[in-house]
Amino acid sequence: MSLSEKLKERRYQEIWDQYCGFLDLSIEEYMKIQRRLMEEQIQMWSNCELGRSILKGKKPKTIEDFRKMVPLTTYEDYADILLQKRTETLPGNPVIWIQTTWEGGRHPIKLAPYTRSMLDVYRNNVIACLILSTSHERGKFDISDTDKILYGLAPLPFATGLFPLALNEEIGIQFLPAVKDAVNMSFSERNKVGFKMAMQKDLEFFFGLGSVAYAVSLSLASMSGKSGISLKDLVKYKPSMLLRILKAKQRCKKENRPLKPKDLFRLKGFMVAGTDNWCYKDDLEDLWGIRPMELFAGTEPSISGTETWTRNGMYFFPDTSFYEFIPEEDMLKNLEDPSFVPRTFLMDEVVPGEKYEIVITLFKGGAFARYRVGDTYRCVGLQNREDHTRIPRFEYVDRVPNIIDIAGFTRISENGIQSVISLSGQPVTHWTATKEYNENNRPYLHLYIEIERNALISHAVTAEIMKSLLTTYFKYIDQDYRDLKKILGMDPLRVTILRCGTFEKYREKKGKMIGKMSPSPYELKELLELQRG
């Protein structure tokens, strides 16, 4: 029986148990699910060509064997098989291939196969998110078959495009604009059309990347700010919406403030995904009058976690993948010395307060095993009195330090920055890059560079020139960076030229060079202080 039918029959308790029941699990029960599904996956994965190519003759029988025998993997380990879509070598039969950019990879894109069983799990978890986004307490939620959702994310072949398809298998929620129309539209077109439809028909849900949701929300305000609704369009408006628009405009005029989406819509649920969401959540809440619920999804891990009505920490779904956690200490050590093999801990071994890099093994015939997604989380608690859960709760911290992710939009790697610098042809001798936040809490990439002493006579190298040159080349090598400017209207680069010899001085003092990617704030502070001496 589909969700629609259950909703029709008002079997709310059953719905809640089916989709959100994982919140009631004890950690032992949670681990039982993890272990059983992992056993199934070990079988499938070890017996396929992909698995054998990584196992190199070893045959794991238990989960412990598996963790010992399978090294931690990155996309590089799968690239040959996955990029050529060699389905016969995979543990499960892919129904669809999902695509994303491969930051600093040898190929512009990454492909990830999804089996039908993975999609089933994905669908159920997406529904769980939808339900939880509307709930204010356990077992209470408000969704219906006729709801409408504004969807500020990319269509297939990107992972976000799965969301509407999976959802519509179970419930008739209407996407604004309809998926089949949306695929042929550009991002801004999609938002414009979606919002226009929302103005006419009302809106119950909104889902987008935090940063994009924010950009869209602002454009909504400016779009609705324009007074003109043409007579021709007037027909398409629901009278109640017309009334609401009129009222909202009047109110805004009275309060002398721009129109906000919350004046027009009473959202039931608001979901955001991606990185840097914390910088946008407050603003989004102010704009929409409801605090967004964060969920965690990606191309390789599919949808793996969600917040609840407390909006205070995420829970990982027990049936998406097997989770292992690399403690921060080991992660950093491994970054410095790639030959160091970091330890991993399981869900029942995490410690509150500790920061971890996540490692996943997909269930249900997924390709990735012990895969480093490149995200870090902090465990914020093992139990929660607020929502009465007994499983660990996490908050998203950021990408791993060797990748700088700006607003969930682009991922910049050391290779990327290096090739931008060499393409620019500027006499940069040393550099280090880190993500910082401006006064409005918006993220940007801060590049600290040092120029070759002798070149200063022959080159014009102000920070301004460097910034515009580097921006040009970032846009050249990175499509997402281009979109950052185009879609979010943000300029995410800041360049600081350090005094000649500073990096060298640092090396003399500390005995090693400062890390190129995301050095710690203390290291950076020390570097900057060395300029003075």
């Binding site: 589909s2 039918e5 040959d80 990029l83 039969n93 512009p108 009278p239």
Partner: protein, 840 residues
């Protein structure tokens, strides 16, 4: 007045008839709006009649009723047309309603726009005198606006879907008549004659005609048969009640003699009318209230039109799945299409975009056999048939997992070209025979459309695709090149030509099959790397072209570098030994930087490739050499001398053979001599000659492991012993594979006991699939075995041995190599090994 009375009563009667008919229908939006339309007509006519009859309460009231009906009629048409065309004009729907109703209400108290007529009595004759002012224009102007808008909507609807055009014809005609009638009132000829009501009747007839042709809309019947008799009775009664005085009067005046039979005549007339009415009603009901299947027939007709127009397979499949979903309501629908070679049925399309389409129904599946006989079958019937017993468990489970409940074949003259699989509709409904029939109807038209589209797509695909690599072919590539060059005049366009180094050698070493496989792998790498950002084509036998719109030299080089690296790292995991590494020479040229025409672009890339070839292969050259790239070169040693380096290893191994079995040692040396002799006769590349020599020296290295007793046994070997001997080939490979640097000899060694006719061992491959080096070795090996003395046999003279070779050409030996070898020996260029060794 007489004619007026008849006409208005008849018109009223028709309207009531339609109204009552539709009251019995399920109240869908379209039906409701149609009822509103008929209601306005009734108001108009009834008001007019009752006004003339000055019925209670007063003629003015009836005048308003009539005017209201007339005013609201355009609005009702507007509603109805919108509902019929599926348009959502929520705003105008309400606005026009309010506007016209408002005007009407304002007019009531004082008749601002059009005042009620004055009643003029001229003797018995009653007439009405109207007085119009310009204000009337406001009232009818508003109605006209609505009507014009209604027409505009109709045009829009028809333009969107021409199917509606025919459906609207009678309605439009009706409206035209109606308003022509109203206008005609102003023409003096019609003075006193109710031409408006006559045209009203015409309009009603047209509506009924539209209904009778069952084109207008389809309804679900709610009323029963008996209600149809009841209604006929009521209507007839009403009709005769009204007409009674007139008819009696007419009868008595025209046929005074018949006066006493009035009641009888009347009763007969009543009965006849009743009978006519009931049969008309029945006809309408059976035509109009079509059963669901007939509703579906209409949909299918539309579907047929649509698929007949398309040649795109996916479009047709999508339409087919949609129509099945609409008519049968199956939750999951799959269409499997037979692959191009007429083999198995591969799932190709489903109504749910995320459904698994990776399954295949084998051609020999019992289900297919059943479908050959009966076109379509329900799974629950199939399960009880004898053929079901032949289903594999996996096949059964597969269908169960997909919840398949019915299978329908798509046919092309008796051949099954595809299969439609259906699951049950959601809820508790199960697929019925009726559903099956419906899908069969769809399948029959789908079959033709699918066949045509399939043919078209195959032709389209074949004309543009290289058969082996599935990349674009050369011819189509030139087309694309010219197109893209034109398109990217303002931007940039990069072209890379990727040429495989020493591919001939590769083919000779491992056979053409392995060569083709390598080509396919390389094509796959190129395709996956280029993706959507450009075009990949097979430019010539061992050359690929990559066209990259909007790429400059820098990005093109990066992409090509990645391709080059992947090809270099390519390994064939289906064979248990490592194949020679393939490298590529790449030339890149880009417009506008270095070319102004497509021809120049191509020429430049070609020149760049040639340059790499001349300067040591395995590199990337950019035309107009600003950048020179030889990145991967460090990874491979200069292949020119590569094979000489392993001499010492080979010596060590042959020495080991010598210790164990001197015969094998000298035999190996002899075979090496004959094999290189043959290779030279064939003018093979010196590298290949060297590889063949080394392979010959090592070809029997596996015999180290065979007991001497068997090796030197006099007389015939037992079967078991023969098996042991046969095992030496694998044993040889077992030894050589541990020397990764020597694995290039493996194909020759592993294949030297294969026979040209495929009856050899260990792999039983035949013909050109046996690597050339192995075929050479086979001749050399056999020739030496025949011409030397063994413990179990005598020497066969050279000439006889050559004859045996010739006899066996095409059976054991490659028929194209034997004559070359025989000629070489006979003409003295290849001497007997013993002789040659003496000289050496």
């Amino acid at each position: 007045m007489q004619s007026y009375g008849y006409i208005s009563i008849i018109a009223l009667f028709f309207y009531c008839f339609i109204f009552l008919t539709f009251l019995a229908a399920k109240k869908e939006k379209i039906v409701k709006h149609f009822l509103v339309l008929v209601a306005t007509m009734i108001c108009w006519t009834a008001g007019s009649v009752f006004m003339r009859l000055q019925m209670f309460p007063s003629y003015i009231v009836w005048y308003h009723v009539s005017l209201g009906g007339l005013l609201m009629m355009p609005y009702a048409y507007f509603l109805f047309v919108n509902a019929f065309g599926g348009r959502e004009d929520r705003f105008f729907n309400r606005m026009y309603g309010l506007l016209l109703m408002g005007l009407f209400l304002i007019n009531i108290p004082k008749g601002i726009f059009v005042r009620w007529p004055d009643l003029v009595m001229r003797g018995d004759e009653v007439s009405f005198e109207y007085r119009y002012t310009w204000m009337v224009a406001i009232l009818f102007g508003a109605a006209a606006v609505v009507l014009v808008h209604c027409f505009a909507n109709m045009v829009r609807i028809c333009r969107k879907d021409p199917w509606y055009k025919r459906q609207f014809h009678p309605i439009i005609l009706g409206i035209v008549c109606l308003f022509a009638g109203n206008l005609a009132l102003l023409v003096p000829v019609f003075h006193g004659f109710p031409i408006d009501l006559v045209t009203g009747i015409v309009n009603a007839l047209l509506l009924i005609y539209a209904l009778l042709r069952k084109r207008l809309f389809q309804l679900k019947l709610l009323a029963s048969e008996s209600s149809c008799y009841g209604m006929g009775l009521i209507l007839t009664f009403l009709l005769y009640y009204n007409l009674l005085p007139d008819i009696t009067k007419q009868l008595s005046s025209r046929f005074p003699a018949a006066e006493e039979y009035t009641i009888l005549v009347f009763a007969v007339l009543f009965l006849v009318t009743f009978w006519l009415l009931v049969s008309l009603w029945r006809k309408i009901v059976s035509n109009l209230f079509v059963k669901e299947e007939e509703q579906q027939t209409e949909k299918i007709r539309k579907y047929n039109n649509q698929v007949a127009r398309s040649l795109h397979l996916d479009e047709i499949l999508a339409e087919t799945v949609d129509i099945i979903h609409e008519t049968v309501e199956s939750a999951n629908i799959y269409i499997c299409i037979q692959d191009r070679s007429g083999g198995d049925y591969q799932a190709r399309y489903s109504n749910q975009p995320l459904n698994d389409l990776s399954f295949t129904i084998r051609r020999d599946n019992p289900l297919v056999r059943i479908l050959e006989k009966c076109e379509g079958i329900l799974m629950r019937e199939f399960r009880s048939m004898i053929d079901y017993k032949a289903m594999w468990e996996t096949e059964k489970r597969n269908l169960q997992d997909l919840h398949i409940e019915a299978c329908i074949s798509l046919r092309d003259e008796g051949n099954i070209v595809g299969i439609i699989l259906l699951s049950n509709p959601p809820g508790n409904r199960k697929l019925s025979r009726g559903d099956m029939d419906m899908v069969l109807t769809i399948a029959s038209s789908a079959s033709i459309a699918i066949k045509n589209a399939h043919l078209y797509e195959t032709a389209y695909y074949e004309a543009r695709t290289d058969e082996l690599t599935k990349l674009l072919n050369r011819k189509y590539f030139f087309e694309v090149l010219n197109e893209e060059f034109e398109k990217n005049q303002e931007g940039s366009l990069a072209l890379a030509i990727i040429n495989i180094d020493d591919f001939k050698l590769y083919n000779q070493l491992y056979g053409t099959q392995a060569g083709d496989k390598a080509l396919r792998r390389i094509a796959e790498i190129i395709r996956s790397s280029v993706g959507d950002s450009g075009y990949a084509a097979r430019y010539s036998g061992k050359e690929f072209a990559v066209l990259l719109p909007r790429y400059d030299v820098f990005s093109a080089r990066n992409l090509v570098k990645s391709i080059q690296k992947q090809i270099f790292q390519m390994t064939d995991t289906t064979v248990d030994y490592k194949l020679k590494v393939l490298t590529v020479s790449v030339g890149i040229s880009a417009a506008p930087y270095a070319a102004k025409t497509p021809e120049e672009l191509l020429e430049n890339a070609d020149m760049a490739v040639n340059h790499v070839k001349r300067t040591g292969k395995n590199g990337i050259e950019i035309f107009d050499t600003i950048l020179r790239e030889n990145s991967v070169r460090d990874d491979v040693k200069d292949h020119k001398n590569i094979y000489k380096e392993y001499e010492s290893t080979i010596y060590a191994l042959t020495a080991a053979i010598d210790v164990k079995d001197h015969y094998t040692f000298s035999h190996s040396n002899d075979v090496a001599y004959y094999a290189t002799g043959l290779a030279r006769e064939l003018n093979l590349n010196p590298d290949v000659v060297e590889i063949i020599r080394q392979a010959a020296l090592l070809h029997d290295v596996g015999k180290i492991g065979i007991p001497e007793a068997i090796l030197n046994k006099e007389g015939k070997l037992t079967e078991e012993e023969y098996e042991v001997i046969k095992g030496h080939v694998e044993a040889s490979i077992g030894i050589i594979r541990h020397l990764p640097s020597l694995d290039y000899v493996i194909p020759a060694v592993i294949g030297h006991h294969e026979r040209y006719d495929g009856k050899g061992y260990p792999r039983r491959i035949a013909g050109e699939n046996i690597p050339l080096s192995a075929r050479i070795l086979c001749i050399a090996d056999s020739f030496d075995a025949m011409t030397t003395k063994r413990s179990y046999k005598d020497v066969i003279p050279m000439e006889h041995a050559l004859e045996i070779l010739e006899e066996e050409a095409g059976k054991q030996f490659d028929p194209s190599l034997v004559p070359v070898f025989v000629r070489g020996v006979r003409e003295g260029r290849i001497k007997m090994a013993s002789e040659a060794a003496g000289k050496r």
